[in-house]
Structures are given as structure tokens and as C-alpha cells.
């Protein structure tokens, strides 16, 4: 599955995976389980972003739209039609995928910063529209107030649990799915095409690869997963609003975690989230507002340093280090 990995790397990945699975038997405290769930959730979101942006080499800062829209679909299908969120989130994911095609078709022709600015504009249009629409053709969107998922108690069908533990394992399962999906994609035809497009878009086109088509396929899969993440968020907090779930903050988080960890790699985005989320958590809990915005200063500095010194993400020097330790011959 991780073709290019050394034995030591594989062993390490297995240890981390096993650690994540057995973590709840070591720490039982709900606060820690909650924090661990958030780290896994952000890893999943960063990995979903990476699925298209990391491999095609385009920077989207509008991905939160897919999360928000799918979250709304899931919640509305539950409150209006009584449909289980498990099914609703699949619908939400598909809805996000369709939306991504509508946005991606015209914008993927744009390059570099033009693409980035357009994704921001699309996301802002959607967010402002959602914030100011109480009722759309009979659907109660409730504007900026956001939607509340009514409490029904411990119920698997309703995706509601009294304990934190089920949410943690659901998030972990989602993370496993996106990791496997990315690994498969990387070795498939799609993965090779995307890398070709990333390396030299015109060259790829000359070889008969249709860049827009393959970018769009990857984008729709990425949007689908991002949407599932949004649905998970809505169920976990039982509350969703346009500002948090569609705003630019979430998009920036997803992108920065991927880029710092290592975009265009299977595990880079997860590494990024595992590094950055705890920094934010510690900065907030230990300094508790004494130094406003400190964690964002750290984010910014880490981002700038990464771009300058590890343009492919922190995962690259890490792998080199591991290779040196194991004496392997990985380049």
C-alpha cells in the first residue's frame, strides 16, 4: 500500500495507527477523547483537501463550502424528512460533489493565484447567501442563525451518542478511508495523470491527457469527502452555521495543515494536522487569552518557514531522517 516506504516507515505507520486505535483505552477522560477526535477530524479534512489540491498543485481556499453545504443537506434531511444522517451524509457528499463540478468546470482553466482567488470568491458568495437566506423555496435555512440537530438521545440510527468514544472511532474510520483512497488513487491512472498535470500542464495536454477532466474527477471525490467531514462536524456538535462551516478560516486551516505536512503525499496532511492542532490547543489552554492570536502567529511563522525551507512539507525531511536511521537507500 505504501510502495515507496521503507521498512522503518511502515513500522512507524503501523505503530501510530495502533496507537490511535488503542488510545481510548489509555486515556479515558472525555476531554482528551474530544481533543483527539478534533485532531483526527482535521486530519481527515486536510487529507480531503489534499486529494485534489495537493496532487494537481492548485491552491483552493474555498473548500469549506463543500463541508458546509453537505452539512446542511445532512441536517435538513434529518429534520425535514426524518432521514438517518448516515444516509443523509452520503446525499450531502454527492451534493457537494455536484456543486464542485459546477464551480470547478469554469475555474480549473485558471492558473495559480487566479484559481485561488476564484475559489475564495465562490466560497464567500455561498457563505453570504446562506447567512442571509432564511427560507429557500420552502427549505428553512435559517440564515446566519444556523441549524440545530434536535437531540434524540443515544441512537446509532440518528448518529447521536451520549459518549465521545463512538465519534472518535467514526472519525478514525473516515480517516482510514481517505488514507486508503488516496493511496489507491496515487498508484492509479488518475494519480499519474494528476502528477503529470501538476508537473507540466501543457505537456500533459500534448500527451493526450485532458487536464480539466481529470482535475474535475479528483475535485468531485475531494468535495465528496470534505462534505462527509462537514456532516460529521454537524453531528458531533449538533449545530452548524455558515460562518464556521463555510467561512474562509476552515478553508485556510485545511490548506495550511496539508501544505505544512506535505501536500501531494498520502500522509503529509495528517502529519500537518498532528503538528498544528496541538499547538493551537496548548496555546489556547495554557495561555487562555493572555496572548491573543499567539497560535496564529505560530501558524504563520511555521507556514512561512515551511514554504522557504521545506517546500514539499515537513514529511520530506522526516522521511530522509528515517531513511538515514534505517540505512535504507531511499533517495
Amino acid at each position: 500500500m505504501f510502495g515507496s516506504a521503507t521498512t522503518l516507515e511502515r513500522a512507524l505507520i503501523l505503530i501510530v495507527a495502533a496507537f490511535l486505535v488503542f488510545l481510548p483505552s489509555i486515556v479515558r477522560d472525555p476531554y482528551h477523547i474530544h481533543t483527539a477526535t478534533m485532531i483526527v477530524y482535521f486530519s481527515f479534512m486536510a487529507a480531503s483537501w489534499n486529494f485534489v489540491c495537493g496532487y494537481v498543485g492548485q491552491l483552493s481556499l474555498g473548500h469549506s463550502v463543500f463541508s458546509g453545504v453537505a452539512g446542511y443537506v445532512t441536517v435538513l434531511m434529518f429534520t425535514q424528512m426524518g432521514l438517518s444522517p448516515w444516509i443523509g451524509m452520503l446525499f450531502g457528499g454527492f451534493f457537494a460533489a455536484v456543486l464542485s463540478l459546477a464551480i470547478g468546470f469554469p475555474t480549473f482553466r485558471l492558473k495559480g493565484p487566479y484559481f485561488t482567488l476564484t475559489t475564495i470568491a465562490f466560497a464567500e458568495i455561498m457563505r453570504i447567501w446562506f447567512e442571509n437566506t432564511d427560507n429557500f423555496i420552502g427549505i428553512p435555512l435559517k440564515g446566519s442563525e444556523g441549524l440545530v440537530v434536535p437531540l434524540v438521545g443515544d441512537s446509532f440510527w440518528a448518529f447521536q451518542f451520549n459518549e465521545k468514544l463512538p465519534y472518535y472511532y467514526i472519525a478514525l474510520a473516515l480517516l482510514a478511508i481517505i488514507v486508503i483512497a488516496t493511496a489507491i488513487m496515487e498508484r492509479s491512472k488518475l494519480g499519474y495523470y494528476l502528477k503529470a498535470i501538476r508537473g507540466d500542464r501543457d505537456g500533459a495536454e500534448a500527451l493526450g491527457i485532458n487536464p480539466t477532466k481529470y482535475s474535475l474527477i479528483a475535485l468531485s471525490i475531494s468535495a465528496f469527502f470534505t462534505g462527509i467531514g462537514g456532516a460529521f462536524f454537524a453531528q458531533f456538535f449538533r449545530y452548524i452555521n455558515p460562518e464556521r462551516n463555510m467561512g474562509i478560516d476552515l478553508s485556510i486551516d485545511m490548506a495550511i495543515m496539508s501544505i505544512i505536512g506535505g501536500q501531494g503525499t498520502v500522509l503529509g496532511p495528517i502529519l500537518g494536522s498532528f503538528i498544528l492542532h496541538p499547538i493551537a490547543e496548548v496555546a489556547r489552554t495554557s495561555l487562555g487569552g493572555s496572548f491573543l492570536g499567539l497560535h496564529l502567529v505560530i501558524y504563520g511563522a511555521v507556514l512561512a518557514l515551511t514554504v522557504l525551507y521545506f517546500p514539499q512539507g515537513i514529511i520530506v525531511p522526516l522521511r530522509k531522517l528515517l531513511a538515514r536511521i534505517s540505512g535504507g537507500d531511499v533517495k
Binding site: 453570504i128 442571509n132 462536524f233 487562555g288
Partner: protein
């Protein structure tokens, strides 16, 4: 404000984190922990900081007077960053890690709503501070108590004040305009005002929202000029409020029955520094705190001392959020004293039985604090002040209006000022 002796014992902490140090000193004795979830960074940080300071002033007073049932109060602050998910995480931390006896918070309704549900699930009492979303006390929860207004009350009071002034002078505006921030707060407020105003026979001549962080209001001012509302209800944060009032002044737009701000920006002392007096003269401000309270006489000694202590920290005296933070801690202390222990269920029952009719907890200008079966204080009301000759004087309700106050109604046009 701080007890010097106790502070000195922890001199190693001194200078690093002032308040953490003071609370750490108390931790050596048997102390009762109260968690405060507030927006200490992000867009609402100024409000969070004012509430925090008010709460600290109250806690210091209570502790200096011997604490509650012989135990000191220890305040544990958590930063929500105005984000719902961070608020939920921090509530978990306050309850699980810090093991607080109760939580006070969290100003932003979007944070209070999901976070207070966490508290309900763990059976931890939650005293709402500043959040007005109606549904917060409409969920049938047992552990949620809100001493302050609901959004619906805020809206009703603004119309009540217009009605009262119309009744007293015989001059009544025909139409009311609405101009509000396009977010949760602004939109729900405008909706409620619209409903009540129409029920009482006013026409709504302007209904306009804007995206927070505007760089120019010229276009909207033109609309106001052409729609000519008698009175204008305005919802804005500090930066937008400053810009709007400055441009109103620059364009000399007449509103015969005034600009009615629902607080927000107009509650922030920095608003009054930024806008010249002419820019807010005759403006009405609705807030959960009686602005001329300090002049009203018969004040509890705690409130007078608190105002001084507050000013020492922030450079200005109590404002709405500072007063609410101060009041919240006194309400909590009252309940804990009656509960006789720091046990969460005992505090919950004591809170439910709250009936405060005097003392520093009423700094906000309420006549009484008690909670109905949903945890809402039915005696909560805001106070509406008008800015006359550089002073903000209470004009509504009549009971809070000082005898010396004569409201300006209708207000003089620009030409006559």
C-alpha cells in the same frame, strides 16, 4: 483589588500572569471553581475582556470579604474565540479537567447554544452571560439560567420606548427603518422589531442588512435619505457603528425621531472616543445596563468600589458587559452560599430558587433576579438611554429614568443644532 499578602506568597508567578497567580494563591485553600467561557480573542474579544474584568472585580470583592461559606471563589477562564466548536471543546475542558462547579458564558449565542448543552448533559449549572438568542432558554433544559434579556425583549423594549415617548409628548413617528448587520444577532433582532412594530401600527419604510466590516456606508445613507424613516433602528458592532455615525454626521441626515442603536458598538467606550459628540448627540442606546446608574444614588458600596477597580484595569468605568460579568459572579455566589456546598446539583437547585431583590447583583438595573421553569429571568430588562448634551441619560423604563431627565423628542434637525 488584589490581596497583597496572598499575592506576595506566589511572587514567583508575579508579573507572568497576574490573575492566574492570584487564583493559584487561593487554590491552596479549599476553593470553589467557577469556569468562565468568553471570547477572549477574535472579533468579540473586547466584550469578552470587559466581562472578564467585571467578573474578576466581583470575585476579588467576595474573596476579600471572606469568600462564600468560608471558601474562596476561583475563576477559571477559557477562550472560545467566538467559534462554536472551540466553545464546546473548552466547556469539556472546564468540566472534565478543571472540575468547575458551574460555568458562566459565553456572550456569542452561537457559542452558548451548543456549549450549554454540554453542561446540561454533565449536569453542570450554566449561567448565561450576554447571549440573547431566544431558544437558549426554550429547550426545556434544567441547568441553564439566564439573568439577562432575550432577543425578543430587546426588540420589544425599543418599540416600547418609542411608544412611551410618543405617549408623553403626543409626537409619534409614522415609519420605522431597520438597518442591521447581516448576522445571527442583527437579523433576528430586525425580524422581531419588524413584527412588533407592525403590530403596533408603524410602517417599515426601510429594511436593509449589510455585511460586517463595511468600508463605506454612503450608498445606504442615500437610501435612508430617500426613504425618510421617522426613527431608525440600527444594529452594529463597534467598527461599523463608528463608520456609520461619522458618515451620518458628514452627510447631515435628519431622523426626526432619532437613531436607535441596540447597543453593540454604542456600548463600547472606544465608540465615544472615536466619534465627536455631534455624531451621537440625541442617539438612543438600548443596553442591559443602566448607563447613568452611577449617578442614581443609593448604590451598594460594592458597586462603587467595583467601578473604581474596573477603571483601574481598563481605564474606564463599568459598561454593559463589565457590569454583567460583575453581576453574574454575585448571582453565582448567592446561589453557592444558599447551596451550602460546591456540589453541582445543590448549586443548580439553589440557582432555580434564586430571588434577588437588592445588592450588587442588580448593578445591571434590574429590579429583581429570579428564574422561571426555563431558567429565564422574567424581570430582565434593558435600559434605553438618550445622549443629551454629552451625557447618556436613561429615558426608558420610566422607573429607571432620573427625575432631572427630559428626553429630546422629536430631536432637533441639523439646521437647528
Amino acid at each position: 483589588m488584589l490581596n497583597r499578602r496572598e499575592f506576595g506568597r506566589n511572587a514567583t508567578f508575579a508579573g507572568l500572569m497576574l490573575y492566574t497567580a492570584s487564583t493559584a494563591a487561593f487554590a491552596q485553600e479549599e476553593s470553589i471553581k467557577i469556569g468562565l467561557l468568553l471570547p477572549l480573542s477574535g472579533g468579540s474579544a473586547a466584550v469578552g475582556n470587559q466581562t472578564k474584568t467585571g467578573a474578576e472585580v466581583a470575585a476579588a470583592q467576595i474573596n476579600e470579604a471572606g469568600g462564600v461559606n468560608g471558601s474562596k471563589l476561583e475563576l477559571v477562564f477559557a477562550d472560545s474565540q467566538s467559534k462554536p466548536d472551540i466553545g464546546v471543546s473548552e466547556t469539556e475542558r472546564l468540566i472534565q479537567r478543571e472540575e468547575v462547579a458551574m460555568v458562566v458564558g459565553a456572550y456569542n449565542s452561537a457559542v452558548t447554544f451548543p456549549s450549554s448543552e454540554v453542561a446540561e448533559r454533565y449536569g453542570v449549572p450554566w449561567l448565561v452571560s450576554g447571549s440573547v438568542k431566544n431558544e437558549i432558554t426554550e429547550r426545556g433544559f434544567r441547568y441553564i439560567f439566564r439573568p439577562n434579556n432575550k432577543a425578543f425583549y430587546d426588540a420589544r423594549e425599543q418599540i416600547d420606548a418609542i411608544d412611551l415617548l410618543a405617549e408623553q409628548t403626543g409626537e409619534r413617528p409614522e415609519s420605522i427603518g431597520l438597518f442591521y448587520r447581516g448576522d445571527d444577532w442583527g437579523r433576528s433582532h430586525a425580524q422581531a422589531v419588524k413584527q412588533i412594530a407592525e403590530e403596533r401600527g408603524y410602517t417599515i419604510s426601510l429594511d436593509e442588512s449589510y455585511v460586517p466590516g463595511q468600508v463605506d456606508f454612503s450608498a445606504q445613507l442615500l437610501k435612508i435619505r430617500s426613504k425618510k424613516p421617522g426613527a431608525l433602528i440600527f444594529v452594529a458592532g463597534t467598527a461599523d457603528h463608528i463608520l456609520f455615525n461619522k458618515q451620518m454626521l458628514g452627510n447631515r441626515i435628519d431622523l426626526p425621531f432619532g437613531l436607535h442603536s441596540v447597543g453593540g458598538g454604542a456600548e463600547d467606550p472606544s465608540f465615544y472616543e472615536a466619534v465627536p459628540e455631534a455624531g451621537y448627540e440625541y442617539m438612543f442606546t438600548q443596553e442591559d445596563w443602566q448607563i447613568d446608574r452611577m449617578q442614581s444614588g443609593n448604590l451598594p458600596a460594592e458597586v462603587i468600589a467595583g467601578d473604581e477597580a474596573f477603571e483601574k484595569v481598563l481605564g474606564y468605568g463599568f459598561n454593559s458587559y463589565g457590569a454583567q460579568g460583575f453581576s453574574n459572579i454575585y448571582i453565582a455566589a448567592d446561589a453557592i452560599a444558599r447551596a451550602g456546598s460546591a456540589e453541582r446539583d445543590a448549586i443548580r437547585d439553589a440557582l432555580a430558587a434564586t430571588d434577588i431583590t437588592e445588592g450588587p447583583a442588580l448593578i445591571t438595573g434590574y429590579q429583581r433576579v429570579s428564574f422561571d421553569e426555563n431558567g429565564q429571568n422574567l424581570d430582565a430588562h434593558g435600559v434605553i438611554s438618550q445622549n443629551i448634551a454629552g451625557e447618556r441619560l436613561t429615558v426608558w423604563p420610566q422607573e429607571n429614568r432620573l427625575e432631572s431627565t427630559t428626553p429630546a423628542w422629536p430631536i432637533p434637525s441639523w439646521r437647528d443644532r
